[in-house]
């Protein structure tokens, strides 16, 4: 492996969360963005060809080293690591609405879900999955919510564009003048 690929491996293992291109470039003042990309590709291939238990994945606009999913059950059984808790169906619904309609206010979410979501928004804010993006115009200037990089990381998305487009869903709204972005 080249010295740069080794450095990237060490940095990604140490970081844990997805590392952004800027952060990787800061590792070596002599490295160009192109050489970083080459080294990342070298690292990815290394894991593939040598048949490692880990892999390099692109998530939330950055790169992250993750363990291969086939080993998860064994690791959990041996209690060396535990999977994070599942999000409830209600939480996933709320996130779906925020992801597609952001920035979106509480009342619009409640209108779509048909239930109060105050407590749910608090939980999602606490977990860092959503954040306040600003305030709407109008009476009371309600808070508007949007998704965060943690959201992308949680769902292993490179960017929001990886979510299915509204017209790719089996129910496409024809009556709705403003379809999902």
């Amino acid at each position: 492996m080249t010295p740069l690929a080794k450095l990237l491996e060490a940095a990604l293992i140490a970081s844990g969360r997805p590392a952004l291109p800027d952060e990787l470039i800061a590792l070596d003042p002599d490295a160009s963005p192109a050489s970083i990309l080459l080294a990342l590709d070298e690292l990815r291939r290394q894991y593939e060809t040598e048949g490692h238990g880990i892999e390099l994945v692109e998530i939330a606009g950055g790169w992250q080293i993750l363990t291969r999913s086939e080993f998860t059950e064994a690791i959990e059984r041996a209690q060396l690591a535990a999977r994070p808790q599942r999000l409830s169906g209600a939480a996933l619904e709320t996130l779906a609405i925020i992801a597609y309609r952001q920035p979106v206010g509480r009342s619009e979410i409640e209108e779509i879900r048909g239930v109060a979501v105050g407590g749910m928004l608090r939980q999602l804010l606490d977990r860092g999955l959503i954040d306040v993006e600003g305030r709407a115009e109008g009476i009371g200037r309600p808070l508007l919510y949007g998704t965060t990089p943690v959201f992308l990381e949680y769902f292993a998305l490179r960017h929001l564009g990886e979510l299915p487009r509204a017209d790719e869903l089996s129910i496409a709204l024809r009556t709705q003048p403003a379809p999902l972005a």
């Binding site: 990604l12 293992i13 140490a14 970081s15 844990g16 969360r17 994945v57 992250q64 080293i65 993750l66 363990t67 291969r68 999913s69 998860t72 690791i75 690591a81 999977r83 994070p84 599942r86 999000l87 409830s88 169906g89 209600a90 996933l92 619904e93 996130l95 779906a96 609405i97 992801a99 597609y100 209108e111 779509i112 879900r113 048909g114 239930v115 109060a116 105050g118 608090r122 804010l125 954040d131 306040v132 600003g134 305030r135 808070l143 949680y154 769902f155 292993a156 998305l157 979510l163 299915p164 509204a166 869903l169 089996s170 129910i171 496409a172 709204l173 009556t175 709705q176 999902l180």
Partner: protein
């Protein structure tokens, strides 16, 4: 079944456990019923679905959740509207179900996205990130990024929290629905027709107003009295018997 009458008012906390575990809200329950019945969202047999909805809400003890009751009321209203003669207006006739259909479709779309998110999260959950974070890193915390808008939003949330006290908070005066029901019964015994203003004094506190309102609704539900409003925003009339059709 006397519509909502059979649902009772017992607000057992276990109701909400069922609520959280089984359905994500009234729209979710409605979609499940529509799927079970194998009918089209765009052409819901409203009478049948409304009946099943009420049955399910009652059977699962969801009746304490306002959202389900609200939906039940909505379904019954649509059902009533469907029974009205459509005249021969043809083009002018608006399907009373249209708004519900729109909301169901919108909700179903979000449900589908939620399912996509669930699959993605399951896939991601099946992979661990590296757990070895070098201890030195925690020492030098990176710079903080703060904005005034964020702080004010947080202050806003805090105030909202304070304004929605938890159940353990001490409320100066609890609601007295039973007391208000007794008062209304006594008043009704003397007069067959009452007005809202007869029930509460001009300087009533908010807990008294709320108690009276809930008592009124409960008595109406039990069929001990009926409520009538002859014109929009007109005075509310409270009548002794519930024999004839409600207005």
């Amino acid at each position: 079944m006397g519509l909502l009458a059979a649902t009772g008012v017992a607000a057992d906390s276990s109701c909400f456990v069922v609520d959280l575990d089984q359905f994500n809200g009234p729209l979710d329950l409605l979609l499940i019923l529509i799927r079970e019945e194998e009918v089209e969202i765009a052409d819901i047999p409203i009478a049948r679905i409304a009946e099943q909805f009420l049955e399910r809400v009652h059977g699962l003890g969801l009746s304490a959740a306002a959202e389900y009751l609200e939906m039940a009321a909505r379904l019954l209203r649509i059902k009533a509207q469907m029974l009205l003669p459509q005249r021969d207006a043809g083009d002018d006739w608006q399907d009373p179900r249209a708004e519900l259909v729109r909301r169901l479709l919108e909700y179903q779309q979000m449900r589908e996205v939620a399912d996509v998110l669930e699959k993605l999260s399951e896939q991601r959950r099946s992979q661990f990130r590296s757990g070895c974070v070098s201890p030195e890193r925690a020492e030098t915390a990176p710079a903080l990024q703060l904005s005034l808008a964020e702080l004010l939003a947080a202050a806003d949330r805090v105030i909202r929290m304070v304004r929605h006290p938890g159940v353990h908070d001490v409320i100066p005066r609890a609601l007295d629905v039973d007391g208000a029901m007794l008062t209304i019964r006594n008043l009704m015994a003397r007069s067959p027709l009452l007005r809202w203003v007869d029930l509460i004094s001009w300087n009533a506190e908010s807990w008294e107003v709320l108690s009276a309102l809930l008592a009124l609704l409960e008595l109406a539900r039990r069929g001990e009295l009926r409520l009538r409003q002859t014109r929009s925003f007109g005075p509310l009339e409270i009548l002794r018997d519930a024999a004839s059709e409600a207005a």
